[in-house]
């Protein structure tokens, strides 16, 4: 599915590095697709994406697009934050279990009260001036 793309102010406080390998993830994200790698032998998914399978160490992988929906496992509101993130504080981060059986941790959007445990969420693209990040938006 194509992800919603939301404008974000300024530059990414901690821009992720890209390698020849991970560039594919970030390029897809910029186009609204949330992707990762799957083992060609055992079929298991990995996240972050890897050029080999971390579960069986097979070296043939394929890129797959994820549905980008999941359930909030936990979350918090960050008040004491690193200096590079000070201008965004307070902000919410959370752990989301994707429907494909992968656990990710990212920014959590769309929550105003409580911690949203057990609520459904979808991955969105945060389009900063210098490039994309992903986040999870909790669904109403």
């Amino acid at each position: 599915m194509t992800l919603a793309i939301e404008k974000a102010a300024g530059r990414r406080p901690w821009p992720p590095r890209q390698s020849e390998f991970t560039r594919r993830f970030w390029s897809a994200l910029a186009e609204g697709r949330f992707t990762t790698t799957r083992c060609a032998a055992c079929g298991k998914l990995a996240f972050p994406p890897r050029p080999f399978c971390p579960h069986c160490w097979h070296e043939a992988i394929e890129w797959v697009e994820l549905r980008a929906t999941g359930t909030v496992y936990s979350s918090t509101v960050m008040h004491a934050v690193p200096a590079v993130f000070a201008h965004e504080a307070p902000y919410r981060v959370g752990i989301v279990d994707l429907d494909e059986g992968l656990r990710i941790a990212t920014r959590l959007l769309g929550v105003t009260e409580g911690f949203a445990v057990g609520r459904r969420a979808e991955i969105v693209v945060l389009a900063y001036e210098d490039g994309p990040l992903f986040a999870a938006r909790v669904l109403a």
Partner: protein, 399 residues
């Protein structure tokens, strides 16, 4: 596998945890090697051993703020202390101090040294917290796939707390009782950074740090220095005074860094459970035999989760057990009689050394007002990540 040679903890010394380091521009500095040298001399006096007996030195690696490079060998020069066993610095995140103890113990168990020091210094408070977090945030997951979202080490524990409250119906106040209890313990510990007792209302009224946790429910920044003296048990016996004997050890790393990409029960602290099973098995005891425990717990919730994982309290009952006084001095299983990380203080790389300092006092029955009556068996637990790894030692009193 049991230790080949009996290992004993025969001496310990530390400076009080606190804000000791001065800003770089201050005309007069507090220096790491001066603080640590004092600990070495005091710990060896405590042990009653001559300096010539020392055969191995296992240092904790200092914080990057320590200007002196190759601190371990520099320190050996400062002390004019040769070693035929080993001299090294170890680093294992929050577990660093535990690895120093473990390394020193292995030097003795393997017969490569009769006496070994586990020692180190952690100075960091001259760096303002937001700047310090710019550094430590880089430990909180994959630098490119987690760190860009603004996590800190504490954020993982906060998410443990939220999940725990969700699963077990516990309230923030029930968890916060742990902070009140540990502050009361710290009030009796001269090495503690925060010694003024606090009420539950005061804990809950502090500013939020990582919701639901506030200032008094999380680790402070601390400086510290500590030295432990370990010896072959025959050496310890020859000294004719009480010591603590290493009876069991367990380690487990779950092969995940901070977060498991495969959904798991995050608050089960599986690594702690596995390390504890190994340590209990080697010691030939069960959790019911433990008289007191020093648990690495940077937040109230962590003490609750690890005390459950290692079987000291029932799953889901850790907060209630604390509220009922079971884990307080005088209770069924006193936990963190030192005051723990939150109140005793948290110089992270040497925090586990402070746990052993406390157990050395308790198992030699000289902990004064915070003495656990008849303390015979104690455990020390340390961790890294969100308890992605745990290292647990069982010690017993020997008179």
């Amino acid at each position: 596998m049991a230790a080949m040679t009996g290992v004993a903890l025969v001496g310990a010394a530390a400076i009080p945890c606190g804000r000791i380091q001065r800003p770089r521009e201050a005309p007069i500095q507090t220096l790491e090697h001066e603080a640590l040298a004092g600990c070495v001399l005091a710990a060896m006096r405590d042990a009653g051993l001559p300096r010539e007996a020392i055969g191995a030195l296992v240092f904790t690696h200092p914080r990057p703020y320590t200007q002196q490079r190759y601190f371990g060998t520099f320190m050996a020069n400062y002390l004019r202390l040769p070693a035929q066993g080993v001299l090294m610095e170890v680093l294992g995140n929050g577990m660093t101090g535990g690895l120093a103890f473990d390394g020193a113990a292995q030097m003795i168990a393997s017969g490569r040294a009769d006496v070994a020091l586990a020692l180190g210094v952690n100075f960091e408070t001259a760096t303002p917290s937001p700047e310090h977090m710019n550094l430590i945030m880089r430990a909180t997951g994959d630098l490119d796939f987690h760190v860009p979202f603004g996590f800190t080490p504490l954020s993982w524990y906060a998410m443990d707390a939220v999940r725990y409250m969700h699963e077990h119906g516990a309230s923030r106040a029930e968890l916060a009782v742990v902070a009140v209890k540990n502050r009361r313990h710290a009030s009796l510990n001269p090495l503690a950074q925060f010694r003024k007792p606090v009420t539950l209302e005061e804990v809950l009224a502090q500013r939020p740090i990582v919701e639901p946790l506030g200032l008094y429910e999380v680790a402070p920044m601390s400086d510290g220095a500590a030295c432990l003296v370990l010896a072959r048990e025959e050496v310890a016996r020859s000294l004719g005074r009480p010591y603590a004997r290493l009876r069991g050890r367990g380690f487990y790393h779950e092969g995940a860094h901070q977060i498991s990409e495969l959904p798991n029960d995050m608050i089960a602290f599986d690594a702690a459970a596995r390390a504890a099973r190994a340590a209990y098995a080697e010691a030939e005891i069960g959790p019911q035999d433990v008289d007191l425990a020093e648990l690495y717990a940077p937040c109230t919730i962590v003490e609750v989760c690890v005390s459950e994982a290692i079987g000291l309290v029932a799953r889901g009952r850790g907060a209630q057990a604390a509220a009922a006084g079971e884990t307080a001095l005088g209770g069924r299983i006193p936990i963190n009689t030192s005051g723990g990380i939150i109140s005793r203080g948290h110089p992270p790389y040497i925090t586990p050394l402070y746990s052993f300092v406390e157990l050395a006092e308790q198992l030699r029955h000289r902990a004064g007002e915070r003495q656990v009556a008849g303390a015979e068996i104690a455990i020390a637990s340390c961790e890294l990540g969100n308890y992605n790894a745990a290292l647990i030692h069982v010690l017993e009193a020997r008179a």
